[in-house]
């Protein structure tokens, strides 16, 4: 198995015409076979050790948890099968709201974040106020705790009784999330824009592209590509934080759990809601890791920056 793997790797790696040993029949030497036999024994031993130590750890953990003095009460309050069954469908129903919020806010955040990032790079005296506003916006909303932002928007704004302004906690909550997250995302985009080497802009300008065209066709595409991993990271974060709109009474996964907890004084529904969020974010984080690894791999292959 090792043999084929190495050979195909070599073939894929060089297509510059560098001769690699020719195509004649290759017979692994005895030295190599011996080496591989030794490595296989080592690998088998390592697997056995890992399995054993995992088993021991699991048993010890189980005994410690179950044997702890508060375990029966904990189990009843946090891990009640009855309440879990009751809560699960309601939590899932609520989760649909979180997913929709994530989607709508995600799009809004990307658009707004990009606009703010671009506003900060604009040159020329006309844009001075725009630059200052964009900078002030990011400074403010990155520093403001999200929970305070949400309370002001979701609870405070309806208290104004303004005509034509919604009091829907979902819309207001989504607005608050968008305000905060677009500040984060704007900074991610800005870092991306600044990471594109000035020589790229110089090359674009020397072809006669205007400043705006250079930004659109040369700088931004490279900036966005580079920032995909941190952007996905922010989206994972946003996904969790959609749960915070429950403070305004919107019935999302968190609120659905909350209602049952309030009635039963059993905390299992919180655990259920929490696990549902975790289950939702895991694919996303794995996807982020995969994208990041792929991009790093490409760079390591000698891609130009």
């Amino acid at each position: 198995m090792t043999v084929t793997k190495e050979e195909s790797g070599q073939e894929g790696a060089d297509d510059n015409g560098d001769m690699s040993g020719g195509g004649d029949a290759y017979v692994p030497s005895r030295r190599r076979l011996e080496r591989e036999r030794y490595q296989r024994t080592r690998a088998r031993r390592a697997t056995a050790i890992a399995a054993l130590s995992t088993l021991v750890t699991a048993v010890v953990l189980y005994l410690v948890v179950v044997g702890a003095p508060g375990w029966p009460r904990t189990k009843e309050t946090f891990f009640s099968g009855q309440y879990a069954r009751e809560a699960f469908p309601k939590v899932l129903e609520g989760l649909w709201l979180n997913v929709r919020l994530l989607f709508v806010c995600g799009v809004a955040v990307l658009v707004l974040g990009m606009l703010i990032a671009v506003a900060r790079t604009l040159r020329g005296p006309v844009f001075f106020p725009l630059r200052v506003l964009a900078a002030a916006y990011t400074d403010f909303f990155r520093g403001l705790p999200l929970i305070i932002n949400l309370m002001i928007v979701v609870l405070g704004v309806p208290a104004l009784r303004l005509q034509g302004v919604t009091v829907d906690p979902v819309l207001l909550g989504g607005t608050a999330l968008t305000l905060t997250y677009s500040a984060y995302v704007a900074e991610v985009f800005r870092a991306g824009i600044e990471s594109v080497h000035p020589s790229q802009r110089a090359a674009a300008r020397s072809l006669g592209l205007s400043n705006r065209q250079a930004l659109r066709y040369v700088v931004l595409p490279q900036a966005v590509r580079r920032q995909v991993p941190p952007l996905l990271n922010d989206l994972v974060s946003l996904q969790k934080d959609t749960g915070l709109v429950s403070i305004g009474g919107a019935i999302d996964a968190v609120r659905a759990a909350d209602i049952i907890v309030g009635r039963s004084l059993n905390y299992t529904p919180y655990i259920v809601a929490g696990l549902v969020f975790v289950a939702l974010t895991i694919p996303m984080t794995r996807f982020t890791d995969w994208v990041t690894a792929r991009m790093d791999g490409r760079r390591a292959q000698g891609g130009t920056t």
Partner: protein, 250 residues
């Protein structure tokens, strides 16, 4: 436009912070001629080219392109750059675009050429530069010499009036230098007006109609290639050339 200079510089001065990079530089480039700028690193060759393309603002003096003063602050700088092609030492290809997209970007977006037409012209150029099969590749799949030839094709795609070449072989492995210089030779044959900053003295001697020796931001000596390389008048020019010969580069 007959024999009036394509590019003219008069008393150009350029400073970076406190240091004077170009001092009182005069230059005239006649149509269909090749001007070579030689001199040690830091003598101001690259800066001179960047000023000619308005990538740098000059502090004093004036520059004309086809008789039009381009250093007038009211000039449309983008319009000036459209008429000048530049090839950089580090290629500066756009890594997120294929070879074909690199070459057609400016014709399509700046000159409003239709996509099919721009691509046809790009393929012609690539064919001429021996890169016909590479149109769909991304730059990082190409060798340095191939990348630099793509960069030349990109600069030529907009049919520039003047081509500026900034030490275009300096980053290349020795065995790749020749393929790029051949392209420049061909361009001279086509009558392209060029200004090149170079360390390839043999090449400068061969293709240049005019050679300028820069030293400390001043054009210390200028003349035909024969005169500068065969019979330099200034002691500093002689010393510079002697060092080059000692290094085996001439």
């Amino acid at each position: 436009m007959s024999d009036a200079p394509v590019l003219r510089m008069e008393s150009v001065r350029k400073t970076f912070g406190g240091s004077v990079v170009l001092r009182d530089v005069d230059l005239e480039v006649a149509p269909h001629t090749v001007t070579a700028l030689i001199g040690a690193s830091g003598s101001g060759k690259s800066t001179l080219l960047r000023c000619a393309n308005l990538l740098e603002d000059i502090d004093d003096g004036a520059i004309w392109l086809d008789g039009e003063e381009i250093t007038d602050p009211r000039t449309d700088q983008d319009a000036v750059r459209r008429r000048i092609g530049v090839v950089f030492q580090s290629y500066n290809l756009f890594p997120h675009m294929t070879v074909l997209e690199n070459i057609t970007l400016a014709p399509r977006r700046v000159h409003g050429v239709a996509r099919a037409e721009a691509e046809e012209r790009a393929r012609e150029l690539l064919e001429r530069l021996g890169l016909g099969a590479r149109a769909g590749e991304y730059p990082d799949r190409l060798s340095g010499g191939q990348q630099q030839r793509v960069a030349i094709a990109r600069a030529l795609a907009v049919r520039p009036r003047l081509l500026l070449l900034d030490e275009i072989t300096a980053a290349l492995d020795p065995e790749l230098v020749g393929e790029v210089l051949n392209v420049v030779r061909d361009l001279k044959g086509d009558g392209m007006t060029m200004v090149l900053a170079t360390h390839e003295m043999g090449f400068a001697r061969e293709v240049a109609d005019q050679v300028c020796f820069l030293d400390g931001g001043v054009v210390l000596e200028r003349g035909t290639a024969e005169q500068i390389f065969g019979d330099p008048r200034r002691e500093r020019t002689r010393r510079f050339l002697r060092r080059i010969v000692e290094a085996g580069r001439l």
